[in-house]
Amino acid sequence: MKISREDVLRVAELAYLDLSEAELETYRAQIDEILEYIGKLNELDTAKVEPMAQVLTTDQQADATLREDLVVPCAVAEDVLAHAPDPEPPYFRVPKVIER
């Protein structure tokens, strides 16, 4: 077994994800099977391989340069807050996190 019930619980906690008992067991079994399959990567010796951290090659990256850091109008606060679940302009309101 690659992944235990405790592993799934720990990961769900890291991801702030509520899972039901049924989901826990279903995902554990399915992910176990997926990890078992992923284990085939160990057939490859990658000791001398650099991980691919960028898709664009160096010359293409030079293309994708950062834009200039210009000040531009950005009056979107109203639009953005209009779609928040609990807005208190100019803030987003959340449940209390600090005890007084």
Partner: protein
């Protein structure tokens, strides 16, 4: 009135005043009304936006002004791509009421070129799936065979074009989500190189893989849409300044004697016998067109699925951390902030998305990062090297798009690994960052479409399109 509109046909009809852009849009809405209840391919329609744009085009026609390249062309947009003022749900309950305050760059460019946006198309939740059955709003039916899936994740975008409910559409491709539904719905569908099209306004799934690209009924129209949306955008630092060739002009050029690679590694076990027969007939047609067929090896192909599902889920677990019930989307109330996060995410995300968040968080977590994520990134480098090596020998690579024809709804939903394994021919190009197109390559029993995939080197879209166009013109869809 014509039923199979193309970009050129729309343009000619408008210029000759045979129809107005407004009438054309109204005609498409009538078709949608008749067909969408069965197909479930559109999630939202934008008739007011379409009418405003159509009126602008009709004013140009009335004034005798030059028409922009996509004037009056009715198009549809996958619901993971932001549209100002129109709900963009990503096929998820967590964004059921989300209305973006801005347009994606690709949408803006389509409209600037004259296209008329009809609405938003159904898809697998957050583009995670290969059958469109992971949408929180129900599956899309394949218009060619309503008991079958349209493919995924851009199943709605493929289905609306195949059913004649839009002339073209935008989808997104992370591991095959444009090419595979294109194949399943019998239409050409293209993913440009990584960096070719701006992703500004695309709601992220896996940022090192996600790309936006077109569906249309003919390769020429795919080329026209790609040309419109491609090119540098200051709002996406991964979009490159590499010049965008005039793909349409490239299509018109005669096909030179090209070397096309047939990778043995894509023709092993697991391919449906009928698919194999069609693909072999398709390859024979390329030979007839004067291409030189070259046997090549891409030795790491068999490891692509494993590497892909590590990298894609890892990036997804990070990208989807933003859905926390604070700034937009669903919130499930609780007195505690952390419990509010957990409940919101537990209720808002569907099963496939949760499964991928758990897997992705696991492969990135302390103690497993090296064994999984780092290993995946190293194998990704080997797969990219396979492509670079191949393109020193050949101009393009031919493969099947999918090992199986469109399957029946519900047939594969209980086994996620089996569903993942069917992405084998498309994820390789996604990992490598190269462009790929799926073109229709016959129908099994005259009914179920097969797609042939053409890969080119990074930023070699013109060659890929030229080959696809020549194949289509030579009757590829009927092999």
């Amino acid at each position: 009135m014509a039923t199979n509109w193309t970009i050129d046909a729309v343009r000619e009809a408008l210029a000759a005043k045979k129809i107005s852009a407004r009438e054309l849009a109204a005609d498409f809405y009538k078709r949608i009304e008749a067909r969408n209840p069965e197909l479930n391919a559109f999630l939202a329609l934008t008739p007011e936006r379409a009418r405003r744009q159509a009126d602008r085009i009709d004013a140009l026609v009335a004034a005798g002004s030059p028409l922009p390249p996509l004037a009056g062309v009715p198009v549809a947009i996958k619901d993971v791509i932001s549209t100002r003022g129109t709900k963009t749900t990503c096929g998820s309950k967590i964004l059921e009421n989300y209305t973006p305050p801005y347009d994606a760059t690709a949408v803006e460019r389509l409209e600037a070129a004259g296209a008329v946006i009809l609405g938003k198309t159904n898809c697998d939740e957050f583009a995670m799936g290969s059958s469109n059955e992971n949408s929180a709003y129900g599956p899309v039916k394949n218009p060619l065979a309503p008991d079958r899936v349209p493919g995924g994740s851009s199943g709605g975008s493929a289905a609306v074009v195949a059913a004649g409910l839009a002339v073209a559409s935008l989808g997104t491709d992370t591991g095959g989500s444009i090419r595979q539904p294109g194949s399943f719905c019998g239409i050409p569908a293209m993913m440009g190189s990584y960096g070719r099209v701006s992703r500004y306004g695309l709601i992220a799934f896996a940022s090192s893989l996600d790309r936006i690209g077109p569906f249309a009924t003919q390769v020429k129209d795919v080329a026209a849409i790609l040309r419109t949306i491609a090119g540098r955008d200051a709002n996406d630092s991964t979009s490159t300044t590499a010049p965008v060739p005039d793909y349409l002009a490239e299509l018109a050029k005669p096909l030179k004697r090209l070397r096309v690679g047939i990778p043995k590694d894509y023709f092993g076990e697991g391919m449906d016998a009928d698919v194999r027969q069609k693909i072999e007939a398709g390859i024979a047609l390329f030979k007839k067109l004067g291409c030189e067929l070259v046997d090549i090896r891409m030795p790491h192909t068999d490891y692509a699925i494993a590497a892909y599902y590590i990298i894609a889920t890892a990036e997804a677990s990070s990208n989807l951390a933003r859905y926390d019930g604070v700034r937009y989307g669903l919130r499930v109330e609780d007195d505690s902030l952390l419990a509010m996060y957990r409940k919101t995410r537990g209720k808002g995300f569907g099963p496939e998305v949760k499964r991928r968040i758990v897997l992705g968080t696991y492969v990135l977590s302390a103690g497993y990062y090296d064994a999984y994520y780092l290993k995946g990134q190293k194998v990704r480098a080997l797969i990219a090297q396979d492509f670079r090596d191949a393109f020193t020998k050949v101009d393009a690579i031919l493969t099947p798009t999918s090992p199986v024809p469109p399957f029946k709804l519900g047939e594969r939903t209980s086994d996620p690994l089996q569903m993942y394994l069917a992405d084998i021919y498309t994820v390789t190009g996604s990992l490598a960052g190269v462009p790929g197109i799926s073109v229709p390559c016959g129908k099994i029993g005259g009914k179920l479409p097969v797609g042939l995939q053409i890969f080119g080197p990074a930023f070699g879209e013109a060659r890929v399109l030229q080959l696809a166009h020549a194949f289509e013109q030579a009757g590829g869809a009927e092999v």
